[in-house]
Amino acid sequence: MTLTRQAPAPSTTEPALPAPRGPLSAAVLDALRTGGRPGGALDAVPDDVYGEDAQLTLYCLYELHYRGFAGVDPEREWDPELLTVRRDLERAFLARLREDAPVDDVRGPADVDAEMAGLLTEPTDADGTGVSHHLLRDGEPWQFREYLAHRSMYHLKEADPQAWVIPRLHGAAKAALVTVEHDEYGSGDPERVHARLFAAMMRAAGLDDGYGAYLDLAPAETLAEVTLMSMFGLHRALRGALVGQFAAVELTSSPGSDRLVRAIARMGLGPEVAEFYAEHVEADAVHEQLVRRGVIRPLLAAEPELAADVVFGVRASSFLAERLERRLLGAWGARATSLREPLPPIG
């Protein structure tokens, strides 16, 4: 067999490169666009690793591992200079998260059980302060559409970041995690792939369902939730944190999705809009059980030293989720967009 270097084929399914948000993202995006080397601006990781410049850069570097970008050579995924930038950003990101989501109190698997029990207690509909509670009580359709635009950064690649952890798990934990992932990917039915259900909901709500269509509008708080998953998934050393992140999502998703189903009905948006969240009420009631009983228990039985990282994954993802919720509710409270710019009017 002869190996020849081929130019990447043009593709209409890959997203366009976004606009830069600072010197680092400008240098990295320029290197991706031109095929050149990243320039001298790469010496400094921005002081605020949670900020727009750092998070967009990290998001785009991770995107090379998913679908890439239109016109960018797929081989850039393994460009050593880009990987060096990624590593520097990851180290700064992880250091900040370890400060903001400390786990000094975690001694072993029993503390993981206590952490999970905390996630399983739900506030009443009237008392909850989260975005789904707001949307249920007072949400308006424009706010719900903004919510979907934020969420599209993850849901259009739903379950993909967690798939990286599969070869890093073994035995019972691997089998149970794959059972959950199989369900996320539609259990063999392409019509039921969760990312596809999300895309259908976006269309029904009058949004562009193109992969990455709202990247330029998505603020750092939104991107950080996705870069967190990618970082945890792509580092074997962080497999415990990935499992913790996965658990935090699966344990809290079902009641939140139920509120969103009722919010959609209250706003009069129609059942075709509610289908994605309706599916998640039942699916995640099962996934919660599988993650706790099937993944975490055997994982910690085999590797009890991962207990602190599992809790770190829960707390880091909750910390970032709360930052995003504050942005959404703060903006909406002021009748302003929660995105970087308002959504275009529905045609």
Partner: protein
Amino acid sequence: MSGRNRVEITGEGPVLVNGPVDVTGPDGEVVRSERSVTALCTCRRSRRFPFCDTSHRDRERRAHRGGGSR
């Protein structure tokens, strides 16, 4: 999958049944689940009976986390 059907009684909430199943309710109505694992409600509080919707969980009247599906 091979061999016998597996059913797990969680004790805290639903009963987990392995494999796609047809569930017949007391009124004779059959509901189909295509999931690899199905969680059947045992507390009767589910809005999606016979399937679990986590309504068995404790509800607390205090501010707490609460995103949607993530």
